[in-house]
Subunit: 325 residues, 2 copies
C-alpha cells in the first residue's frame, strides 16, 4: 500500500459528503490575543460521533466491495474510531464488531453501543488488540477497518484539511502553520497532504503527549520507534503504540514536525476551550490547542489552523478538570 495523494482526498470528500458534517472553523478574540496570531480552530468535536474519525471510517467503508460489506467489518480502537466505525456501518447497513480496551472512557463505550455494534472488550496491557481483531476477522471473513494505517482512512481524515483550506480561502487566507493532535498519524498525514497542496510553505506540526512522543523520536531516528508501554497520559485518544507506516512516510516526505505537551497543558487548553470557545474538548482533542497556548512554537503574526479533534469525555473527568488546578 502507498499513501494517498491529493486526488484521493478530493474523491473521498465527494464520497463521504452524505455521511459527515462540514465542521465550522472557529476563531475568538481571546485566542488571537493569547498567541499574537490569527488562529482558526477546526471544531471536529462537532463532527458526527464527536470526532474526526467519522471521516476516515466513512471513506474506508464506502470503498469496500459489495461482497465485503455483506460480510461485515471489525475495528479495534481506544474509542473514537470505534464509535465512528459503528456509526458509519449502521448508516451504510454494514454489520460491525468493535474491539475496545476495557478502560476506555464510558462515554466512548456508550457511544459505540448506541450505534448497535457488537463490542468485544480487551485488557490494554495484557492483550494484543490487533491479534484479537484479526482472529475475529478471519473467523467470519470480516474486513478490518484500521484506525490510521490505511490509505482510505488517511484520505478520509484528510478531508478535514481540505475543509480548512476552503474555509480559510473563503476568508482570503492561507494557513502558515497547522497544529494537529497526533497518535497513529492518520489525521496529521491527511491534513498535511491537503494543506501543503493549498499552501506549500505551510508548517505542519503533529502534537503528541509527553511520554508518548514516538512521532518526534521516529522523525529523529528516521525510522518508526515505539512508545514504552505503561506510561500514563490524560489523552486516552493519543496512545497508539507507534505512528503508522503510511503516516510516517507522508510525514518524512512533507517535512511534518513534532512537538509534545504535558497533561497540565492539556487541562489548561480544555479550560480555555470551555471558557472562550464554549466547546467541549476531550483531552486528546485539546492537545494541539495546548501546544499553541503553551507557546511551543513561534506563530506570531501567522495564520494558524488548530484541530480540536474530538469531544468525547466523561462528565466526572471534565468536571474535575474545570474545577482543578
Amino acid at each position: 500500500m502507498t499513501p494517498p495523494v491529493l486526488s484521493d482526498l478530493l474523491a473521498a470528500q465527494r464520497r463521504i459528503a452524505p455521511f459527515v458534517t462540514e465542521t465550522p472553523l472557529l476563531r475568538c478574540d481571546a485566542l488571537d490575543a493569547a498567541t499574537g496570531a490569527r488562529v482558526f480552530v477546526k471544531a471536529e468535536n462537532l463532527q458526527r460521533f464527536g470526532a474526526f474519525k467519522a471521516r476516515g471510517a466513512a471513506n474506508a467503508l464506502a470503498l469496500l466491495s459489495p461482497q465485503e460489506r455483506a460480510k461485515g467489518v471489525v475495528a479495534f480502537s481506544s474509542g473514537n474510531h470505534a464509535a465512528a466505525v459503528a456509526g458509519q456501518a449502521k448508516a451504510m447497513g454494514v454489520s460491525a464488531i468493535i474491539v475496545m480496551p476495557s478502560d476506555a472512557p464510558q462515554a466512548k463505550i456508550a457511544n459505540t453501543q448506541a450505534m448497535g455494534a457488537e463490542i468485544v472488550l480487551y485488557d490494554r496491557v495484557r492483550e494484543d488488540r490487533e491479534a484479537i481483531a484479526r482472529d475475529l476477522a478471519a473467523e467470519a471473513g470480516r474486513s478490518v477497518v484500521p484506525p490510521f494505517d490505511h490509505p482510505h482512512v488517511i484520505a478520509g481524515q484528510g478531508t478535514a484539511g481540505l475543509e480548512i483550506a476552503e474555509q480559510l480561502g473563503r476568508r482570503g487566507l492561507k494557513a502558515d502553520a497547522a497544529l494537529v493532535c497526533t497518535s497513529g498519524g492518520g489525521l496529521v498525514a491527511g491534513i498535511a497532504l491537503a494543506l501543503k497542496a493549498a499552501a506549500p510553505r505551510c508548517q505542519v506540526w503533529g502534537v503528541e503527549p509527553e511520554g508518548h512522543d514516538d512521532f518526534a523520536r521516529s522523525l529523529q531516528a528516521r525510522e518508526r520507534v515505539a512508545n514504552p508501554s505503561g506510561v500514563r497520559s490524560i489523552c486516552d485518544a493519543l496512545m497508539a503504540e507507534k505512528i503508522g507506516v503510511l503516516p510516517f512516510a507522508v510525514a518524512q516526505d512533507l517535512g511534518i514536525m513534532a512537538v509534545a505537551v504535558r497533561d497540565q497543558d492539556v487541562r489548561e487548553a480544555m479550560r480555555f476551550a470551555f471558557r472562550h470557545l464554549r466547546l467541549v474538548l476531550e483531552p486528546g482533542g485539546a492537545a494541539a490547542l495546548a501546544a499553541l497556548l503553551a507557546g511551543k512554537m513561534d506563530v506570531k503574526g501567522q495564520v494558524v489552523a488548530v484541530t480540536a479533534s474530538g469531544g468525547n469525555v466523561d462528565e466526572a473527568l471534565f468536571a474535575e478538570i474545570l474545577t482543578g488546578g
Copy 2:
C-alpha cells in the same frame, strides 16, 4: 417606536456582517432519536462573546449617528448583553459603560471587563438598573443600548432567524416549529419575524423558566404582566422583570406561544448538550433544548429549530451540573 419588519432584519444582516459570526446549525442522531423530530440546533453559544446578544448590540451601535457614537453608550444587562455591547463598542471604537448586577456570573463580568468597558455593579434586589443607566446616560449624553425593547436590537437578534431559514433552505427544509429561549423577548420576536416570513405556518415558542413565566401570563392576560420579584432560577440570563413592549406586540401579532421549564429540565439539557452536541451551554441558553427534551410540545415528524442562545457559565456551576443529579 414600532417593531421592525423583515426588510429591517435583512438590512441588519448586511450591516452587522463584519461584527458577527454565522453560527452553525447543528444536528445529532441522539436528539432526533429522543424527540422523533428532525432537530436543528442554532449554536449561538459559538457567537462572538458567547451569545446571540452580539447581533442586536452590533446593529444598535451601527445605527447610532456619528455624534452619538462619539459621546459613547451605556448598557444595563445581566451579563450577555453587557459583554456584547462592550465587545462591539470596542470593535467600533465607541466608549462604553456597562451596568451589571453584582451577582452576575463571574464569567460574564470577566468577559465584559476583558473588552475594556467601564463596569458599574448594582444590587439586583435593591436598585433599579434602568434608572442607574439613565442617570449615567444623562450625565454625559451617552446613548442607552437597551437589551431587548428597541427595534434595532430586535432586528439584530432576528438575523439569527434569517440564518436558520437560510441554513435549513440549503438542506431543502423549512422549520415547522422553533423553540427560543425567552426573557425580554428580543430574540423570540426577531426569530419569529424571520421564520414566519420563510414559513408562515411555523409555530414559534418562547421558552422561559418556571416562576419567570411572565411571557405566558402576559399572552393569556393580553397585557404585559411582571414576574414576582425574588423568585430564583438557574437561568440567570432569563430574569427580565417582564417582556418588552415591542417583543410583546410582535408575539401577539404573529401568534408566538409560551412554555416554561423547570431548573431540573435545564440541567438535563445542559448535560445532553455536553454529551451529544459537545457544546457548553449556560442555563438560560439551554432552556429551549430543555423544553424539547422534556416533551413540552408535540413535534414528532417535524423540522424543529432550537436556539442554544448562550454559553457563558462559571466552571464551578457547570461542573456541579455535570456530576449532579
